[in-house]
């Protein structure tokens, strides 16, 4: 353990030394573009200090350490509110998938290092207007074009696409096959001719998601990352990472001690709210739930370190954490009462209960809606029957629209 404690100390030392330049205070009042620019400088500084790609292989520019090292660094980093949100998806799913399935090793390594340094950002182009949960029902098509492919169609809910250099995309290559079997996985240059990005404003007032249009976009066959017709399996691999990396027991809302502090300092019926039984019960239940999720994550890390496969209970994280964050945020707003009506879309959902509340629905939908996660637990873990699916076994082009 001393090795990990020493690592934690060195992580803290680094973070402390750059907190003034990149942390919470430095970010105050910046608009998104300025914040992103600051974030890019932070990522480069972090990489140069040896804290980029902590658990990735050295041959790809990573540090070759364990998942536990990465978890330690992430835990410490989260305390400083560094501008890293723009790189979370990029480094979370598309780049690891590129590392796993990319064809040209030199190209892959160059992309990884640039992504780690914040010079390039990757997005994940999965959902479409006709379906997010029903991913295999997607309609964007890639057709053979000489020795490459031609891409046409539309994606939706693509996070940070407006700032991205590359993306990973699933497209239909055979509409006469059953829906899961006619898909192929590629990477795509987001600056290529024919790619158009339009931001979508969300309920919270921010616009981090986008519509992305593809109009005769040329793809080389070297951009293909799955066998032709084998894209669904790679997409599933991507989603499994996505559900597992949501390992924040707060569901990316404020930590529980922020709520405890609010309850201690808020007066209700002439006494601190923390002495009210209803508030106490919610604090206790949330603590027990979050402690359970943290213990699940800690055990998963130990298992991976021991070379074992982590248990399927990791899939509970996003499902349980975001739902409860939504309710706790509502309770915090109740506690603040009339003094809590102020709102700014620039506040962080990790620090502000109102921002946490209004952005929580995104968390319950993105990366697998609650209902899809329950289906996955029921079907994959417990062996319960699949839902009735009238489109099963039917060629895609014969499914009634």
């Amino acid at each position: 353990m001393t090795d990990f404690e020493a690592y934690r100390a060195s992580a803290r030392e680094f973070l402390e030394s750059v907190a003034g330049e990149f942390g919470k205070d430095a970010r105050r009042g910046l608009d998104v573009e300025q914040d992103l620019a600051l974030g890019r400088r932070y990522m480069a500084t972090k990489y140069d200090a040896g804290f980029g790609g902590i658990s990735w292989p050295k041959e790809y520019g990573g540090q070759g350490l364990t998942h536990t090292h990465k978890l330690i660094f992430d835990t410490e980093e989260a305390k400083y509110s560094m501008p890293v949100v723009y790189f979370g998806i990029s480094l979370g799913m598309p780049v690891p998938i590129l590392m796993h399935y990319g064809q040209d090793k030199d190209f892959v390594k160059e992309r990884i290092v640039k992504a780690l340094r914040g010079e390039e950002i990757w997005c994940q182009l999965f959902s479409e207007p006709s379906g997010g949960s029903d991913l295999a029902g997607l309609r964007t098509r890639a057709e053979v074009d000489g020795n490459g492919w031609r891409l046409n169609g539309q994606k939706l809910w693509t996070s940070w696409a407006q700032y991205c250099d590359y993306g990973v995309i699933v497209a239909r290559t055979d509409p006469t096959a059953q829906k899961h079997k006619g898909l192929t996985y590629y990477w795509v240059d987001m600056k290529a001719p024919g790619v158009e990005v339009r931001p979508v404003k969300l309920a919270a007032g921010d616009s981090h998601v986008n519509e992305v249009f593809f109009d005769d976009v040329r793809l080389e066959d070297s951009q293909r990352m799955s066998p032709v017709g084998g894209g669904f399996a790679v997409a599933m691999h991507t989603l499994m990472i996505e559900r597992y990396i949501a390992t924040d027991s707060a569901g990316f809302g404020p930590p529980l001690d922020v709520f405890v502090e609010l309850a201690r300092t808020t007066d209700y019926n002439g006494r601190p709210a923390i002495s009210d039984g209803r508030i106490r019960s919610q604090i206790a239940r949330n603590h027990a739930m979050r402690a359970g999720l943290e213990s699940i994550t800690a055990r998963a890390m130990l298992m991976m370190q021991a070379g074992m496969e982590a248990g399927p209970e990791g899939s509970l994280n996003k499902l349980v954490a975001v739902r409860s964050r939504q309710r706790l945020s509502e309770l915090a707003m109740d506690l603040k009462g009339q003094s809590g009506f102020a709102y700014s879309e620039h506040n962080s959902p990790r620090e502000d209960w109102t921002n946490s509340w209004i952005s929580a629905p995104t968390g319950r939908i993105a990366g697998g809606a609650d209902e899809m996660l329950l289906n996955t637990i029921a079907e994959r873990i417990l062996g319960l029957p699949q839902d009735h699916r009238p489109d099963k076994g039917v060629p895609f082009n014969q499914i009634p629209a």
């Binding site: 353990m1 529980l256 001690d257 405890v260 502090e261 201690r264 923390i274 039984g277 106490r280 019960s281 604090i283 206790a284 239940r285 603590h287 027990a288 739930m289 402690a291 359970g292 999720l293 213990s295 699940i296 800690a298 055990r299 130990l302 298992m303 021991a306 209970e313 509970l316 499902l319 349980v320 209902e371 329950l374 289906n375 637990i377 029921a378 079907e379 873990i381 417990l382 062996g383 319960l384 029957p385 699949q386 839902d387 009735h388």
Partner: protein
């Protein structure tokens, strides 16, 4: 950081499951429900024969010297088969009180017998609605114990009890032999818990610990017993999860297994979440024994395990429909046990308060 079970611990889990499943009998448990004061003898004989009674008692006192983690694993299996003898938890509490007291004579008199299962020990802390009264009404003076402890687990059959009493206006833990004590047996909704009101009337007793140290030790003992119970609750909730799953796979309605309906399958998937969170908290709590965060970890385990077992009992009965509500079906055994275990070792309100008090202080 939580632990991963080592090979020895995994073997204890597998072996205790094998032994208990082979000897479990729903009919036997149903019959016991209608009797007051009868213990589930086959289970208890198994526990003694397997050495579970001495699992967490130090070797120098005739036990195996293992920890809360191992006892928790056995309790998990006991919960899964609704084991009908309540001694694992309260016997553990009594023996740990003796170990912590350092009173050599009492240790020599009782620990080897408790370890061997030749004597039954219990714990009598609660009074009124307080699992841990600050000023117990039961008093200890001149070596004698006076007053009533209500609803003591295993009170009908225990040979010896560790009692939380007032001694010269301060709390004390004392050891009382129960041979001459009046026991008012309670005809309960969960009869194999062997609940009785213990009426002490000048009963000779031995002082174990007094003052501030007695309060601290009583809370620590209650927390450790709560962690054992949390394992039992988790094991039972997991058994119910599989019972619900199996029924949903075989029972058909509207031309398909009911498990194909999302209203049913999602209910079962939610149970999986309750069970896994409770399990994770139990493992963490057992691994935190003796550490500074133990009380918080124990409260987390207790709260999530109580929630898991109550929810699993409620929902599994619902998924079974009419058959779930019958005597024969036996699911009410779990309903009953879920409630008796929820109340023993302090209810949800007690543990929620304790947890929030700790979090409020730390903030």
């Amino acid at each position: 950081m939580s632990i991963l079970y080592d090979e020895g611990q995994q073997a204890i889990a597998t072996e205790s499951r094998r032994v208990l499943e082979a000897r479990a009998s729903k009919d036997r448990l149903l019959k016991l429900l209608t009797t007051t004061g009868e213990v589930d003898k086959p289970f208890w004989d198994t526990a003694v024969e397997q050495g579970w009674t001495g699992l967490a008692i130090p070797e120098e006192h005739g036990g195996l010297g293992l920890s809360l983690a191992e006892l928790g694993l056995v309790a998990q299996q006991a919960g899964a088969v609704i084991a009908g003898a309540p001694y694992l938890t309260v016997g553990y509490g009594a023996s740990q009180a003796l170990v912590a007291s350092g009173v050599a004579e009492a240790q020599a008199a009782w620990l080897p017998k408790l370890a061997a299962g030749e004597a039954i020990g219990t714990v009598a802390f609660a009074e009124g609605t307080a699992p841990l009264p600050a000023n117990p009404k039961v008093t200890f003076a001149d070596g004698k114990l006076t007053g009533t402890k209500p609803g003591v687990t295993a009170g009908i059959t225990a040979d010896v009890a560790v009692v939380l009493a007032s001694h010269q206006g301060k709390p004390a833990l004392v050891l009382a032999e129960l041979a001459g004590v009046t026991r008012n047996a309670i005809d309960s909704y969960d009869n194999t818990r062997l609940y009785a009101d213990l009426v002490f009337d000048g009963t000779p007793a031995t002082l174990l610990v007094e003052g501030e140290a007695a309060s601290t030790l009583a809370l620590d003992l209650l927390a450790r017993m709560a962690v054992v119970t949390a394992h039992e609750q988790t094991g039972a909730a997991e058994a119910l999860l599989f019972t619900a799953r199996d029924y949903a796979l075989t029972r058909k309605a509207f031309g398909q297994p009911i498990g194909a309906f999302q209203s049913v399958k999602h209910r079962i998937a939610e149970l999986y979440g309750f069970v896994e969170i409770a399990r994770a908290n139990c493992i963490h709590a057992a691994a935190s024994e003796g550490k500074a965060n133990f009380l918080v970890a124990a409260a987390d385990a207790r709260i999530s395990a109580t929630d898991a077992y109550d929810t699993a009992a409620r929902d599994t009965v619902q998924i079974h429909g009419g058959i779930g509500a019958t005597w024969e079906g036996g699911l009410h055994l779990h309903m009953r046990r879920a409630r008796s275990l929820a109340v023993e070792q302090g209810n949800l309100m007690f543990w929620e308060d304790l947890l929030v008090d700790h979090l409020g202080e730390a903030a």
